[in-house]
Amino acid sequence: MSLIQEIDYGTPRSKSEAMVTLTIDGNSITVPEGTSIMRAAMEAGTQIPKLCRTDMVDAFGSCRLCLIEIEGRAGTPASCTTPAMNGLVVHTQTERLKKLRKGVMELYISDHPLDCLTCAANGDCELQDMAGAVGLRDVRYGYEGENHVFAKADGCTNDNWMPKDESNPYFTYDPSKCIVCSRCVRACEEVQGTFALTISGRGFDSRVSPGMSESFLGSECVSCGACVQACPTATLTEKSVIEIGQPEHCVVTTCAYCGVGCTFKAEMRGEEVVRMVPYKDGKANRGHSCVKGRFAWGYTTHKERILKPMIREDIADPWREVSWDEAFGFAAAKFRGIQQKYGRDAVGGITSSRCTNEETYLVQKLIRGGFGNNNVDTCARVCHSPTGYGLSQTFGTSAGTQDFDSVDHTDVVMIIGANPASAHPVFASRLKKRLRQGAKLIVLDPRRTEMVEGPHMKALHLPLMPGTNVAMLTALAHVIVTEGLVDETFVRERCDWSEFEEWATFVALPKNSPESTAIMTGVDPKDLREAARLFATGGNGAIYYGLGVTEHSQGSTTVIAIANLAMATGNIGRSGVGVNPLRGQNNVQGSCDMGSFPHELPGYRHISGDAVRDQFEAMWNVKLNPEPGLRIPNMFDAAIEGTFMGIYVQGEDILQSDPNTKHVVAALSSMECVIVHDLFLNETANYAHVFLPGSTFLEKDGTFTNAERRIQRVRKVMTPRNGLADWEVTIRLARAMGYDMHYDHPSQIMDEIAALTPTFAGVSYAKLEELGSVQWPCNEKAPEGTPVMHIGGFVRGKGKFIVTEYIPTDERTGPRYPLLLTTGRILSQYNVGAQTRRTENVVWHAEDLLEIHPHDAEQRGIRDGDWVRLKSRAGETTLRAEITDRVAPGVVYTTFHHPDTQANVITTEFSDWATNCPEYKVTAVQISPSNGPSEWQKAYDEQARHSRRIAPAEAAE
């Protein structure tokens, strides 16, 4: 498709239901009350000249170009700030207006460079467009007056001139081209919510200022790109546009980073991506983006990307580049050999939560149909598997209940164990917008995250001790039950009453009161009571939670407790409420949906169920094993035992992201054939025998399912640099292993999925083209998908209340390990950093730092920036310290984006009782000063270097 020029209506859409009718240039038009005349005219097909407005932000009325005449009203009001009213008769083009608009443009151009032909915005500049639209022919003021354009005037330095700011790696700020329309400032305020920009100075001196007239990189700017999108001139432009030029066609696709699943237009010249621009019609992001999706897609062409298949007999050997067929043959022979020697269950695989639904489906099909066992698992094991368990027990489905738009109707938001500002930034911006409109926020987190305090935002922060989630949530429930704040009508109608009564009796026990639990949680009972009352009585209450809930030994219990709270307060089944797990990866929801768990077929149906299995056996033409297979932690244990010897890992770095690194190393070293299918030589590849180069989201067709259960298209924009799309790789690997799967295009794979899975029955590429996206369930009962679930009734029938007894984790602090380590993410890097470390984002976060409270640091003689040793019962590592009071005394925090940090050497083997989700969030540690990297880190680094060698190709004779 050619370049999609999305219509900019000038001002945001009005949500009113009442309509008004007015006449514009002789045409009658009816619009919702509250619509500006400018937008009404645009909808009627008339473009009123405009510069300072865009429908991303509210009207401002500063450029004075959009003036109109209204019969019966004096003067020439601005159409952007004048609301449409019944009976108005508007004229958009008269002699008076023509003269005024020319006058305004003449003033603009008198202070603007005239280098259109060599300017980066040539062809995409609204100033150019408006000068043409109003018929500007002459700037009679000349160019010798005061200006911001020339660095020197008559040999003297021009004090008004500022040089270009090129500090941000992705875009430049050129003050000489700025027309002070302040669209960037408003975008940073209204869309992003960071408030990093302002206009400094006054009158003619007005200039856009990041922070306190700092550089963009030095200011609070988070590089989301909203200002660049909003800027009508070349003042804020992407560096890639400056280098390459204007794009000529675009393809709408979905971002491959986090679970928000922003829709982007990939703007291209041929097969080169010029830039990624957020798509206004994206239902998850509504035209906004974050630094990662918007700018950090350069890893696709990074020099470290592996483009040829490689094999080796022994991990101590260098890699040998081979053809695809040789690689497939080698892998297939190894796997067959392993199965013959050790048994059918000695091999397995891990699906990727970053690859498409179709690709994940094929991997589990290969394992079930080709290998003949159910040893398949996915990274959701280590993040949201408790969500799956907890919500399916209480509600009947293991996914979030709302869409992101729901936050616009929420009155009280409770965030538990999540930091959307870092991990789901576009959602955080929408949430912050709602908070600025008056909604309230409660944050349960050991750390004072960016969600607790921000511009125009203050949360009720309950800083609990890591590991005490269940005690906290039960205490909140205690307040709600004992103070009579339960929504009894809802509970009687929608839930099992006797189960509720049992639960209510339990939470009402004195030991579960805020006062009694305070000793464990560390939270002031007064604040806790206030939070509970606010949530129960403040209107629509919604809970958003993340890995601070699930990555605990009581992760599933906590999810159940959350569900209990939502049910008790009647906050399910409509817009503005709900239980919302913030799924991390771009397709982890999809990966789970596609049957990546060892005990479930696609659609979350147990493998032992005969009826379902028969269906699959018929479609796949193969007998299936009814025994559930190994979960990832079990795979490692079995490998060390000697019974699990071959693994096919697609798009996941288990060595960097799974806990207890030494255990993973032992497991991988024990295996006879490790196949890694990925973009780069990641940590797992250090122990691999076969490397299959993968393709990026820009190089394949497919679908991703985001945290809202929304299935969105991923569209190919360039030929895969490695030669094959990932789904093609899996098919050919399967064929080499003797299991034939034939598909010409991923749409056929989706058709098969739809045929076998009731919740997906209505999904097809044709439907996705038509509707843009659908949220499952999408079938006869809901042909256009299901934005909000459990309306009227829970999927399982009646909502189930389950008693949640607090059992502290076995990971206890003690004299040798007196501090508690918890982990998290940062905005600019993504998870293990495989992609983001290979982009310019490293400028923001070049290493992981350990956050430590000043009190704890002082006791140990640690200064800011010192190397410290972080030691737990599992292992130790070294990293630099950052002293901050964002963490409480007794708690330390780090991120895990860089492999040399080896953060997972520290994390333990403890995991959730129901799902084995590792307890990353609670590790007892001791911190002490250090001289440098630990022995383990040095040895690891050495092994990694050795393992990454690629043998040069043999010279031809």
Binding site: G61, G103, L107, D205
Partner: protein, 152 residues
Amino acid sequence: MRIEFSGRPVRAVQVGGPLGAYFPRALFDTPFDYEAFAARDGLIGHGGIVVFDDSVDMAKQARFAMEFCAVESCGKCTPCRIGSTRGVETIDKMISGERVTENLAVVEDLCNTMKFGSLCALGGFTPYPVLSALKHFREDFGPAPATLQAAE
């Protein structure tokens, strides 16, 4: 209260503050009334009266109006933010005799843009002193254009 008189004849009066119109002696019979002043392109404003004797240079007064606007401008709207600075520059050109007729037209157009295009009354009223000075005290704004010589 002591009032200092210069002893010289009155030349102009400005009613309503720095953005009020300048009235010449010929208009001194205007009733002190909103509509009456508006009918003669003046305004009551804050009701204050400033009296000027014949040593006043009305070109400098017009320039001052533009300069005042530029100094006080908030910068939000284009007509005032850029227009006031350009207004000062253009009046300066007229005072120095540079292409007076053309620049007069430019100033008049600029005043029209500012009067009807500005977001608020700062830019909106600056044209009052400027246009009234140009209308009633044209002789202060640089030499009158030379009459064209008839071709021989």
